[in-house]
Structure formats: C-alpha cells, structure tokens
C-alpha cells in the first residue's frame, strides 16, 4: 500500500516531540484570547440581531452559532460553546419543521451575551447549569431532526 505524501513526510526522522509541539500551540493559543473576545463579541451581536428579527433566518443563525461553538471551548469558554451548540440544535429543528421560535432563539442569544460578558470559563456553577437546563427545555419543544 503506497503511503500518501503527507504520511511519507510526516513520519521522517527528526520530528518534533508531541509534548513540545502541543505545548507550543497551547502557548500560542493563549496569546490569542483577546482576539477571541473580539470575535465572540461580533458573533454574539449578530446572533442577537438575527434572533430579534420579526422573521428570523434560522439558517443564518445556525451558521453563526456553529462558528461560535467551534471557538469558545478552544479558549476555555466551554459554556459559550455548549449554548451555541444548543442554538444549533434549535435552529436545525426549526429548519426541519419550517418554523421559527423567536423567543427561544432570543433566549439563547441573550444567554450567550450574559456569559460572554461575564467571561465565564469552564462549565460554571449551579446558576449556569440551571440556565442550560432551561434552554434545553426550549429546544425540546420542537421535534428532533431525524436521519434522512
């Protein structure tokens, strides 16, 4: 079986130790936290505008929420990622049902604003857990999308 060029190059002698490479990347990531804060500001502001529209565009909301979900946890803002993921679930369900639920969408956007502005890292405490449970109930009002 012929190796890919990537495999042939990557497995040469003289590679950097995994622990060194990972540590260097984590250190670099730490220097980008300020940039993340600015990017999350922008994305959460978009989500609040989109969710507050008279007829929310759930596909646009889904895409912005998916981007935010992919960023928060990389900097330790696990709850921001979790709630953005919950918003993705909601938007997916609404899209499949051809419906909109502005109050539920807005509740997610406002929760993201609150946690982001408080800079809540990790999974938070009882209050945050209560908030996530409440948001999950809003998502559960709509049927889960199914495999095609």
């Amino acid at each position: 079986m012929r190796k890919s060029r990537f495999a042939a190059l990557a497995t040469r002698d003289g590679g950097r130790k995994r622990s060194d490479a990972v540590q260097a990347a984590e250190s670099q990531l730490a220097t980008m936290e300020g940039d993340y804060i600015a990017e999350a500001d922008r994305l959460i502001a978009q989500l609040n505008v989109l969710s507050g529209a008279a007829q929310p565009d759930v596909e646009a909301i889904y895409r912005v929420a998916a981007t935010l979900r992919g960023l928060g946890g990389a900097f330790g803002y696990v709850l921001v990622s979790d709630i953005a993921g919950s918003l993705c679930d909601l938007a997916e369900r609404l899209g499949a049902a051809g419906q909109v639920d502005p109050p539920a969408l807005l509740a997610h956007a406002q929760s993201l604003s609150l946690l982001h502005h408080r800079r809540v890292k990790g999974t938070g405490g009882d209050g945050e857990a209560q908030l996530c449970e409440g948001l999950a109930r809003l998502v559960a009002r709509w049927p889960a999308a199914t495999l095609p």
Partner: protein, 193 residues
C-alpha cells in the same frame, strides 16, 4: 510508524478551508507551532478546489460548513475527480455542529477523519498523527471513493476522552456568575409564549 517520537512537518503543505477568518487563523497558528512548512488558506470550497488544482497540497483540513460547495460535497468531488493528482490526499473534516441530515453524507464522502470543534491542540495533533500512520487502502467504487471504511486500523484518537479532558482543564471556574433573577428574566419571556 512515527520515528523519533513525533511528526516532522517541515516540507508539508496544508490547505485550510474555513469560512471563518478567525478560525483559519486559530488553526493555522496551531499548525505553524507543530512545524508545518506551508499553510494555504481558502475561504470557500471553490477557492480550495482551485488551490488543490494548482497544488501540490499534502493535506486538506476543511470545515464542513464552508460554502460553495460545503466541505462534505467538496470532499466527495475530490474523491471522484478521476485522474486528479489530489484525488487521494488525506482530508480532515472539522465539524462545528453536525446536522442529522449530514451524518450519512459525512460517513460516505470519503474523508480520512472527522474532528469535532472546538479544535484543541492535542486533539488536532493526534488526528494528524493518526492520519500519518493510516494504512487503509484507497477504495474506488461507483458508490464510494476514499479510505476503506471497513479496514480495522485500531482505535482512532479518542475524541470523547480528549473533549472531557479539555472540559476538565477549564473546570476551575465553578462558582455561579449568573443570578437566579437573571436566569428567570431570560427564560420567562420564552416560556410565557
């Protein structure tokens, strides 16, 4: 087999396709710290395909939600582009969220591996290492083209455990910073309808 304890990525060209400029910057910084020689960026699927055609590219890292076409469609196009030099390059798909409608498409598109975002350095490095030692033959049939999905190459990197470790890494902040009144103010307006 990775010798000398780690990946050697100088001389490797990685193409990174993601619609989010910040996400591209984030992943590109990780790759640079891993020692990747050349990192190319594409903001959409069409630009990524153009870069592949110009080549050579050794690895494609692509977000599933990149547009025009999306990452799943792009991977399928690459795998079915008969005669193209890039047809069998490793493809690592990044997924910010996976819709139910995309689960089967992702399984069948021919990607080498899928990594759920958020991307952490350890998880990304381990995926690259796994791809580097991936011995699966390339399957080419009418319904599927890509690394053999049935070939047992041992356990892939444990994404669940890694994700849990990432959560634990940031579990130091366990005191609530939101009050009961704030929670109720947000949820009551949604529950009342």
């Amino acid at each position: 087999m990775i010798r000398s304890g780690g990946l050697r990525l100088d001389g490797v060209t990685v193409l990174l396709a993601d619609g989010s400029k910040f996400t591209r910057k984030l992943v590109a910084q990780m790759l640079a710290e891993f020692g990747v020689g050349t990192i190319l960026e594409a903001e959409d699927g069409e630009t990524a395909l153009d870069a592949l055609k110009r080549g050579p590219v050794d690895l494609l890292i692509c977000d599933t939600l990149v547009e025009n076409p999306d990452g799943i469609t792009l991977t399928r196009m690459i795998r079915h582009d008969n005669g193209a030099t890039y047809r069998s390059i490793p493809v690592l798909l990044l997924a910010g969220h996976t819709r139910q409608a995309d689960v089967i498409r992702m399984r069948d598109c021919g990607a080498s591996l899928i990594l759920a975002k958020p991307v952490a350095p350890k998880a990304l490095y381990d995926r690259l290492a796994w791809i580097a030692r991936d011995p699966r033959p390339f399957v080419d049939s009418a319904i599927y083209a890509g690394p053999d999905r049935r070939h047992n190459v041992g356990e892939p990197p444990n994404g669940v455990a890694r994700r849990q470790m990432d959560r634990e890494r940031f579990a130091d902040q366990t005191k609530s910073s939101v009050s009961h009144d704030e929670i109720m103010a947000i949820l009551r307006q949604a529950d009342s309808l």
